[in-house]
Amino acid sequence: MADSMYDQVRTHLLAPAGLGPTEIDLALNRLLARGIDFGELYFQRRVREGWVLEDGSVKNGSWDVDQGVGVRAVANAGTGFAYADSLALPALLDAADSARAISREAGAGQVRIAPVTDYPLRYQAADPTAGGGSAERVELLRTIDAYVRSLDARVNQVTVSLTASHDQIMVACTDGTLAGDQRPLVRLDIRVLMEEGERREQGFSGGGGRFGVAGLMEPECWQHYAREAVRQAEVNLGAEPAPAGFMTVVLGAGWPGVLLHEAVGHGLEGDFNRKGISAFSGRVGEQVATAECTVVDDGTLDQRRGSLNVDDEGTPSGCTTLIENGRLVGFMQDKLNARLSGVQPTGNGRRESFAHLPMPRMTNTYMLPGAHDPSEIIATVEDGIYAVNFNGGQVDITSGKFVFAASEAYRVRNGKIGPAIKGATLIGNGPDVLTRVGMVGSDLKLDSGVGVCGKEGQSVPVGVGQPTLRIDGLTVGGTS
């Protein structure tokens, strides 16, 4: 299957630009100056289609095409990088000449590349932007709008957006790597604004993954998101001010896994650790979480938003254990950081596009399930909050401080879930927050497929997940 993926990309991406094995060899050979550890060509064409509904009608749609080639040459820890928005040979060779300037030494070499094809596919080559279907998509958004409005008369504004993209990449490297991938990605977002008296509140839901638009057109799929968005807005209409202070926090299953992404995920990326600037640097083997906690980064899940067949350096995707029974066991690596750290790449080399350099990035990051029933966990909380939905987070990987902002949360007293509270930021310290995990639920859930991770100005799609967790002490930033 992977060989047909490679063949298709060769046919659809490279052949129309007049690029074949000879041209790729020519460009790679230019990168082989003395002192260059490896050189790489990354060809890409990405088509994105988007439709947005507002005020009951689809008023605009967009179609965006980006294509180009990014060339890098790496000498020890230094990288020369250039890119061109044309796939034509002269532009490719110019970019190669600019990139190899990282080494001041002259020289030439010969490289032999062969396609990497012996890995399983996590998603198919479906192109969700091909084959028309615009009329059906527009109709879907209108149907969703009518459904949302039928759910609750207090719904004032409904925004629905549908995006579909098809990303074709080919990576050729002087280490012999040659791999192609075609990545479908679709996403549906539903946002509602509800008004009651003087109060106005929003609710949001959505999802997607690496499959065709048909998957989102199933009524049971979009109706679920619609009800969820309305329910959240309704909950927020009745929310009281959140408490302020240090308290027990129970995090719901699924999307609250953004905790793991921020608190430990970024700190376990290979670049920060090689440089010794992460709060986790030099701590492999140490206990950084309670024994109930095992956290993995897994790019091999079928059709998930963060999944990859091969990463952006042509390394087949993997499942990397980061924390095993509370002990820090591994980092996520791209080729450059793996080589400098004397370890193997883990399939985490990702880049936003040909115009950006790859670096170690997460795919789908989640905690494995524990032993406790979620209701049993809530029952143990005397005084705290239960947060089930979040807006996203941020981390300072050096100090380890991270935040994530709750968008749906409840007060918990004497083991009972109480009134809804307004959104509040939670702040903690990455290296010790998981040492405060008191209980881990049996209800592992992955998010619905809307995650975007930003690092050094580059955005990539990711997934998160976790079972219900009780954290015995986290600072909650409410007002009361």
Binding site: S62, G80, S86, R200, T398, V403, A424, T425, T475
Partner: protein, 452 residues
């Protein structure tokens, strides 16, 4: 065009882009679009990054792009491409037209009225081309980082320093016959350092960006400032939960005023997603404060004679004596609200908060016992309700004097109250920014840290 050609003859690049724009508009018209608009841009960037005295990244970048929107019988469609070959440009126009066949009519869609187009496009003093060599950038980055690492023995590591030289040319044209062109240069340097002691590691940075390369801060100024900002965070701790006055330094005070601007922006208003609905004429800041937009300021960070719709920009107050005078509107959002555009398609340009008079020492004295916030984290800002809750770091102040660094706390409040009850402002505007806001003293916020 090559790098040196673009730097020496930006008019030629602008003419090339204008030619593409004409091609787009002609094709759109011949295929049935009643109106069309197109933006085309071309930019060059050369950047050197060093870490621990060694080259880490050398980058040569060339970005180009074209974005077209067509309007047919009240329906619109948008398409973009980074591939500027004529046949691809034509396909892109056809894509936009195909999309417009499926969208639904929108009475607010379409170009701004022809009489609003900028009829004069003065030179705004934004173009200072210089073909800075990669060697020069590398040397400068090394000098910045070395100054930072040498400034304090507690600087133990570095995320590196980088220096960049960027030049861009862009054209906006529409079927009224308007063609406007902008060009600008930007040179930037930054340095991120790590400090460490028995309390742990801290990271912070400093940067500078200018239109002219020879106006960039001296390398050692940026390096030393990065070091100063980093080491002062060492030993940070939490503080007890309570309610305190909070002094926002200019870089985070900008965010507060940014939320005010966001809440009075057309897109939020017509979606009713703002805590400042129908607020024109109301007091949104204290009486001593005004917000003036100067989009044609010579050499300004965001200067342009026309906005994203081609509409002529002009100096105008958003807030005078604390009172909101207008909204921030594009042609589209203005029509949605039954109002007239404020030439803010693409956002506000060179907005400055005036009226503050306090020195840093005076602000500290007025703060008395409370918090200085130097950094906020996370997305805890709800523009619909004005609820504000962020992670924060900064300094604790006792008796008007900085006592110790603070981290892992949250600050929370209600934006409408926080803004309307600002107690004082400084005069320390950050001239490098398009939104220039001095230090702001917020009367009181809930600060959460340890158990009280």
């Amino acid at each position: 065009m090559s790098r040196s050609e673009l730097l020496e003859q930006p008019e030629r690049e602008a003419e090339l882009l204008a030619g593409i724009a004409r091609r787009v508009l002609d094709r759109a018209a011949s295929r049935g679009a009643e109106q069309a608009e197109v933006g085309a841009s071309s930019s060059l960037n050369r950047e050197a990054g060093v870490r621990l005295g060694e080259v880490e990244v050398l980058e040569e970048a060339r970005d180009r792009g074209v974005r077209v929107t067509v309007y047919c019988r009240g329906c619109s469609g948008t398409a973009s491409t980074g591939d500027l070959r004529p046949e691809i440009i034509d396909q892109t126009v056809d894509r936009a037209l195909a999309i417009a066949r499926h969208t639904q009519p929108d009475a607010a869609a379409g170009l701004a009225e022809a009489e609003l187009m900028a009829d004069d496009v003065p030179d705004l003093d934004l173009w200072y081309p210089r073909d800075v060599s990669m060697e020069t950038l590398i040397e400068r980055a090394c000098a910045v980082e070395a100054a930072g690492r040498g400034a304090d023995a507690r600087i133990t590591n570095s995320e590196g320093a980088s220096v960049s030289a960027e030049a861009s040319v862009s054209v906006y044209a529409n079927s009224h016959g308007f063609v406007g062109s902008n060009r600008g240069t930007r040179y930037a340097q930054s340095c991120i350092l790590i400090a460490g002691d028995e309390s742990g590691m801290q990271r912070d940075y400093d940067w500078d960006a200018r239109r002219r390369f020879d106006q960039l801060a001296a390398p050692d100024v940026t390096g030393r400032e990065a070091a100063r900002r980093t080491v002062r965070r060492l030993g940070a701790r939490r503080i007890p939960t309570g309610r305190f006055p909070v002094l926002f330094v200019p870089e985070v005070a900008r965010g507060l005023i940014g939320h005010l601007i966001g809440a009075v922006s057309g897109g939020q208003l017509y979606r009713r997603a703002s805590f400042l609905l129908d607020a024109v004429g109301q007091q949104v800041l204290p009486e001593w404060a005004s917000l003036i937009e100067a989009p044609r300021q010579p050499g300004g960070p965001a200067s342009s004679a026309f906005d994203g719709d081609g509409v002529a920009t002009r100096e105008s107050a958003l807030v005078a004596d604390g009172q909101l005078l207008r909204y921030v509107l594009s042609t589209y959002s203005a029509r949605r609200l039954g109002l007239t555009t404020t030439a803010n398609a693409g956002g506000v340009r060179n907005m400055r908060l005036s009226g503050g008079q306090r020195s840093h020492e005076q602000l500290l004295e007025e703060l008395g016992r409370g918090l200085i916030v130097t950094e906020v984290m996370g997305q805890g800002v709800n523009l619909v309700t004005g609820d504000y809750s962020r992670g924060a770091a900064g300094f604790w102040v006792e008796n008007g004097e900085i006592a110790w660094p603070v981290e892992e706390i949250t600050i929370a409040g209600q934006l409408r109250d926080m803004l309307a009850n600002l107690r004082a402002a400084g005069t320390d505007h950050d001239e490098r920014r398009s939104l220039q806001v001095p230090s702001l003293l917020v009367a009181e916020m809930t600060v959460a840290g340890q158990e009280a």
